[in-house]
Amino acid sequence: MSELNTAVQEPKAHPRRKQKEKKPNSLWSDAWYDLRRNKVFLVGTAIAILLILMAIMPGVFAPQNPLACNLVDARQGISSEHWFGIDNQGCDTFSRVIHGARISILVGLLTSVVTGLVGGVLGLIAGFYGRWVDVILSRLAEIFFAIPSILGALLLLSAVGRDAAGVWTVVLALAILAWPMVLRIMRAAVITAKSQDYVTAARALGASPFRISVRHILPNAVAPVIVVCTMNLGVFIAGEAALSFLGVGIQSPNISWGLMIADARNRFLMAPEPLIFPAIFLSITVLSFVMIGDAVRDALDPKLR
């Protein structure tokens, strides 16, 4: 089998790109090339872009003010004016669903970035320096890792109290429990990269530890972290919804899909729409980010190169 592999890779790497060999093709651009041709990625990205647009300018998509509610109209079914019906408070469900995207996406992105940075930097330090630094950081990560994430976030948020609950507290609650995963992945990737011959070659040239970690290790170790952060996006969005549903996350009058589902659940049989539509949007959002994460993993997986 190895014979075939080398035979295929041996010549100029990506044969498909041989014709237009103007720009040098790095592994990153090869990955990007693969991504652009991946249907799963395109579908996921299309949905995600739509959702992000909704989050940035909900007014363009939503026909009505989500906060202009009229109790008289509560629990009306689907109509040409109210596509997703009206909820218990007499608000337009469609408009509220559109506005709900902002917090979901915001929490997802922020948590991903925070965990990626914290876990990534600490993972690089732990993997690169090893010894006692690694022992301390890894043990610390294990302590947090042992806490079941949603339950832990629930405890943290209930300790903080409803008054303080908001986007940042939810982000921190989720991030505090999720960074150890990123640390572990980064650390493992760094340890693998550290033992590569090109690192030895750089040491033989007299390169400083800083240069080795930034020029040689980080670019070769960051791919799995990017993958896990992308995949985590969906998880965090679901997590935010769960926490808001449980009443410790986002609070009214802010709009969150989890909150909307919680508000609608008591009258589900009477008026199913206010529950079903945010749930569908939540699922689609999570799905789209999982699809992107999946595609990114395929593109960055060095075993496929």
Partner: protein
Amino acid sequence: MAAAADRILEVRDLVKHFPLTSGVVLKRQIGAIKAVDGVSFDLNRGETLGIVGESGCGKSTLAKLLMALERPTSGSVKVNGREIANARGGELKRMRRNIQMVMQDPYTSLNPRMTVGDIVGEPYDIHTEVAPKGDRRKKVQELLEVVGLNPDHINRYPHQFSGGQRQRIGIARGLALQPEVIVCDEPVSALDVSIQAQVINLLERLQREFSLAYIFIAHDLSVVRHISDRVGVMYLGKFVELGKDAEIYDRPAHPYTQALLSAVPVPDPEGREQRERIILQGDPPSPANPPSGCRFRTRCWKAQEICAEQEPLLQIRPGTAHASACHFAETHDVVHVN
């Protein structure tokens, strides 16, 4: 013996033991892997010393010690008369300009995220005093040309090259700082047969052009013979024989060298039935627990009591003109290669 001024590398009693530990929290040492255990040799300017031996004999660890990538347990490595084994910081960095390496695997020794220009130019980024910033690109292109690559490919990435070409990139990187010594650790064994000769010719040409000295570590004995002026044979962390290439190949004195030479398949079927073949039994013992006395005695057909009691030193013995470490050293021409 060459004058001391010609001596570029001086290795004395070099020892590297890797501790074996047990226990998770309270680590205690339960032994040591004696990877390199008392190696001494000199290398002169423009000379090639071949080092042969089987896997686990310590030849790669020796390379790392010479490059100051590992610190020795004891002993000394002097480059141009200055100790590199214990040098640190700026001093070590300066000394590295004199001794560089070419690694075995051209697929893992180049950073896949860097362009060829960045890889070959990295030595100049680290040792900024060697080439002013404006000159670097030109210098890198010159180096690529010297090793037989197209200088226009400076912006390509390693995966766009074949194994042999990558090895040339690695050689160009090794040459960048104009070192006097290059340690080649199995530089051709990962390459296709038809490419090996190209790379060996390149190394020889560079040696002539830049009067380089090579430490050439390999397991392919015919390649080592071709390129080396002197050859050292390693077994379990020690040199068992050291001499000029013809002495080692035509008049080997140590039983291990004889067995090694006779085991190498000769690429000529003529008279293969008559060829003398010494087939050693078993595998080399573990370097964590080497046999007492002579380390080869457990596989040696000449072994007697003295071999278990007294360690034979590497020295010139009666009846031989070069150093060997065997109580019963006796030259014996095993293979007759034409």
